[in-house]
């Protein structure tokens, strides 16, 4: 069942990036060096993982200037926030003992708790392509 967790998020490095970015208020971005310091990551390593998250449509990397100094800023997209929430819901389902799940929703019983979450992940992907356009 663990393989049903979103593979884009489910790694130490990218889970920490997504946790950091989703901890900010909506509409807030982090500068690349700030994100780096919050993660204790090397610039190269962070760039690699950010590219993967960007390809999935979960984060947006904005390269701009603060005066004359180039400044890279990173923010989570709406699709990224939704994917992270789905990921959290899946984790919760995986960590809930089956007996409790059965008691909570007798109809669904022990049927894959991951399935509804996977279904909601699809519209998120649709959003992603929309945002990329």
């Amino acid at each position: 069942m663990p393989e049903s967790l979103d593979p884009v998020i489910h790694t130490v490095a990218r889970l920490r990036i997504m946790t950091t970015l989703t901890a900010l208020a909506e509409g807030d971005r982090l500068t690349f060096p700030k994100l780096q310091s919050l993660l204790d990551a090397s610039a190269g390593n962070l760039s690699t993982h950010l590219r993967r998250l960007e390809d999935a449509g979960y984060v947006r990397v904005v390269k701009g200037h603060q005066g004359r100094v180039p400044s890279t800023q990173v923010e989570v997209t709406r699709a990224g926030r939704r994917a992270f929430e789905d990921y959290l819901a899946q984790l919760r389902a995986l960590l809930t003992p089956p007996a409790e799940v059965a008691a909570a929703e007798p109809a669904a019983a022990t049927a894959e708790p991951a399935e509804p979450a996977a279904a909601t992940a699809e519209p998120a992907d649709a959003d992603t392509t929309e945002e990329n356009r």
Partner: protein, 210 residues
């Protein structure tokens, strides 16, 4: 930051909690510190002015010296606030920082205006009593109003309540008039801020205890 090592769900949950705590610690504005420095500045500053007032003052300190100490306490509190907020918001851009900057400008213009008012009253030949009443009432009322606005903006109830309380204390103090309004502001205003600082500390303790 390590790489794509396998994670089990429990490890993921632990990692999320740890990283959230780290972000919180790095970006959180500490109410204990801010209400603490401002509370102390008001409590001591207003009390000194009250105690140094008149021909037979409670303490052997000229009123001018009391005012100077109050000014220094306010500058200290302002520096502490600015540095603390700048540190905690460093590297964050976007909505929150725009809101914060706009809110900061509101404070700047409010107090620039009050400073000019004091100067104008002085040049117009107003007595120390008039200047003190006008400066105390206008500045504390602005603090109260801006706290209320900030509380509404960020939906921080305790900040809103403190703002309303400071407005009420200011109204009472203004009715009392100089010089005892200074004592009312010291105890009600400074005391109120320190009380909120203590409430913040208790809340934080509880959050950590969980």
């Amino acid at each position: 930051m390590s790489d794509d090592t396998a994670l089990d769900p429990a490890a993921s949950v632990a990692l999320i909690a740890e990283q959230r705590a780290k972000v919180q610690a790095a970006t959180d504005v500490d109410g204990r510190l801010l209400f603490g420095v401002w509370g102390v500045a008001w409590l001591i500053g207003f009390w000194l002015q009250w105690a140094a007032w008149g021909d037979d003052p409670l303490i052997h300190l000229s009123y001018g010296a009391a005012l100077a100490v109050f000014g220094m306490l306010l500058i200290t509190a302002m520096v502490v606030t600015t540095v603390h907020i700048a540190r905690r918001s460093a590297g964050i851009r976007g909505t929150t920082s725009t809101q914060g900057a706009m809110y900061g400008w509101a404070w700047f213009f409010a107090f620039a205006g009050i400073g000019v008012l004091g100067h104008a009253l002085d040049s117009a030949g107003a007595s120390a009593e008039v200047v003190s009443t006008a400066m105390t009432a206008s500045s504390t009322l602005f603090v109260g109003v801006l706290y209320m606005a900030g509380g509404a903006l960020w939906r921080v109830r305790i900040q809103f309540v403190l703002g309303a309380w400071i407005c009420l204390v200011t109204i009472v103090a203004t009715l009392v008039g100089a010089p005892n309004m200074l004592l009312v502001m010291a105890l009600g205003g400074g005391g109120g801020m320190l009380m909120v600082g203590v409430i913040e500390a208790v809340r934080r303790g509880r959050r950590l205890g969980r």
